[in-house]
Structures are given as C-alpha cells and as structure tokens.
Amino acid sequence: MTPTEYEYLRKFLRDHSGLDLSADKQYLIESRLLPLARKAGLSGIGELVQKLQGGSGALVTNVVEAMTTNETFFFRDKVPFDHFRDTIMPEVIKARAGRRSVRIWCAAGSTGQEPYSLAMCLKEMGAALTGWRVEIIATDLSQEVLEKAKSGVYSQFEVQRGLPIQMLVKYFKQTGETWQINPELRAMIQYRQLNLLHDFTQLGTFDVIFCRNVLIYFDQDTKINIFNRLARQIEPDGFLVLGAAETVVGLTDTFRPIPDRRGLYKPNDQRAVAAPRPAHASAPPRMAVMAGR
C-alpha cells in the first residue's frame, strides 16, 4: 500500500464512520481489506482505492463495515449493568411513576449482546415494571451486525461470554449448536441502522443512553460533537453510560460523572433545548408492555 493510498483510506474512514486511525495502522487495513478486495475480484488495496474514488456504493459500505470492531459480549464489564439495576432503574421508576414508560437507547448495539443484557435486567426486575411501557432502541452503523442482533442467535462460544448460566437456561432456546434468545426478549428491542456521525434527533429523547466502546475509536472533536448531540437526546434527569475506557472529563461539560458510579454520567442543565419526543408516525415502534409474572 502506498502512503497516498493509506492517507486516502484514513480520511475515507474518518469521514464515513469516524474511525480515527493513527499513522501506523497499515497492517490493520491490510488484514481487514485485502480479503474484501480479493472477494470483490480486485487485485489489491490499490485497485480498491481506485474503485472507492470512483464512488462504488456497495463497496463503500463493505469497506466501512469491514473496518469496524464489533466485539461485544453479554453483561460486558458487569458493573454498568449492576448500576443499571441498582441505581438507574430505581431512580427512573420513581421519576417516571406518573407516565410509567421508559426509553432506552443502545447507541452502538453491535450484535445485540448489550441490548439483550438490558432486556434481561429489566425482565429480572419483574413486578416493579409490571404495566410499564419499555422501549429499547438499539442502533449501529453496520447492517450486518444488526441482522445478527435481530435474529438473536448466538454460538455456544458467544453465550459463554459474560452470560450467567442461569440466564442462559432461562432466556434462551437451544437449537443444535446455537442458542436463540426468547421471542419475548427479542420483541423488547427495536433495531435501526444509524451512523453516530449523522443526525439522530429523529430518535427522540431517552431516559437512559448506553454508548459504550464506540467513542474510543473517534478523534477528540468527533467525541465532543457526539457528546453535545447526545445531551440533546437525553432527559434532564436521564443517564448516560460509557465504556470502561471512555469519559466526558476534559472534553465537554454537557455531562458530569456521577461520583462512585463508574461509567455513569448525568446531563448538566445548561444544555440546549431538548428535542421533542418522537412522533410515532411512520412505523409504530415496538413497545413491549411488561407483563406481570
């Protein structure tokens, strides 16, 4: 790969997905894009770059998706989900007792483990949420991971990462070597393709936003820009949850960390006017009404 080609791809990826590659990630590009180029019948990275410059739509998507890191697992890092159960939801339940509805956004849901972990947490809360409308929206840049997330089918290896065995038995059905999460939990989640670099005001406002292990790939300005826009989609008393290696500190004052609750943030008041709740006009969102048990 020539330096010019590398620079082209760096900029291309920054523009399309926010991915911020340092000057020495040639090996990463080659390991991910060479197989893709070969599959498309191209001789190598050089020809791939030419095709991209020529503006080949399908190829653009494939290149962008091939360069994303989709690694995830159930109850990743555990602590955020303990906070969700012990801090976030009790507060939300109190604050929303009047309207009995909660909206949660997984802003980089990948193959579904994170939104399903939240769904399982909510199910485990049982009676406390009976009669509540619960909306979980999971978005991701990559259509491919969304398809997998929707299917809710996981390999034996995947269901052994982070998922307590009791939860596997309770919420999954085994078919041969794979495990599928129950329809009831699948129905709690609505999946949408969304690039965080683009406008997301149409999603409306949320009580809880999980945005974990995606901002780490972006440069500082992009992070700040996304934090500021997230602040407009969150209720004044809502919660933002970031990944273990992510923080708002030193980047923006639209959010502040919650003391003793690692990874949890609250919006600050001086944020811009909140976007309205979504008009449920186009497609009726799948809103699971929690059944009693």
């Binding site: 697992f73 890092d77 555990k78 602590v79 034996q156 290896f157 052994q160 990462r161 982070g162 307590p164 065995i165 009791q166 596997l168 038995v169 085994q174 070597e177 273990a244």
Partner: protein
C-alpha cells in the same frame, strides 16, 4: 492464593486448564476421576472445582453430590466443564448444586468469565 481442583479424565484437558488457572493465580491440584477428587476433598476442600461430567469410576455429578455433603462442602464453587451441552444436563447440574457451567470446548476467556461470574476472581481481571 486460591485453590482449584481440576477433575477430568483427560490429561490434556487437565494440562490446558492448569495453565489457564495458574494464569489466573490459582494453586491447582488435579484428579482423574470423581473418586480421586473426593479423596482430595476429604483431606482439604478447594475454593473452586472445575469438573468434567463423564469419567470412569465416579462421574462428576455423583462426585458433586458427595462433596456437597462433606462438612463445609457447600463452600467450594463448582464449575462444570463438559461436552454435555444440552439444557437437561445444565439444569440437572444447577439443581444438584453447581455454580456455573462451561460447555466444551473452552478457552481462557470463558474460564475467566465464568470464574468472575461466581466471584472467584474480580470482573475483568487481566491475564498476566
């Protein structure tokens, strides 16, 4: 240092498990079947048992039953590690007193995850 008893009739599996567990800072002892494991437990109970199901002489499920009835036998965390990968076996293990369940093949990530799950190691402990 926490102790883990690895019970499996395959010496290869025991060796792989030992390497992983030592990486997680466990002191490891090995047994090749349930009855040998029980002898060790009667002498001294470990903090954790990584337990195969199908073994000659005494299988893992039977061993667990005996071990759980020893004085203090409710303390060790029992993590099954077996090729039996169906819900019936998992449910049986859990109701028989198992704390976690690994379906073979396994690797270090799965062992670390499952051991963290039952509180044997801190969540997200990195390998040294």
């Amino acid at each position: 240092m926490k102790t883990c008893l690895v019970v499996d009739d395959s010496s290869v599996v025991r060796k792989i498990a030992r390497r992983i567990l030592e990486g997680l800072e466990f002191e490891v002892t090995e047994a090749e079947d349930g009855s040998k494991a029980l002898e060790i437990c009667q002498w001294k109970l470990p903090d954790a048992v990584l337990l195969d199901w199908n073994m000659p002489v005494m299988d893992g499920f039977e061993f667990m039953g005996h071990m759980r009835r020893l004085p203090g036998g409710d303390q060790p965390k029992v993590v099954f590690c077996t090729t039996e990968n169906n819900v019936a076996h998992i449910a049986q293990a859990l109701s028989g007193g198992a704390n976690e369940y690994i379906m073979k093949p396994f690797n270090k990530d799965i062992i670390a995850d499952k051991f963290a799950q039952v509180g044997l190691i801190p969540v997200g402990q990195a390998f040294v």
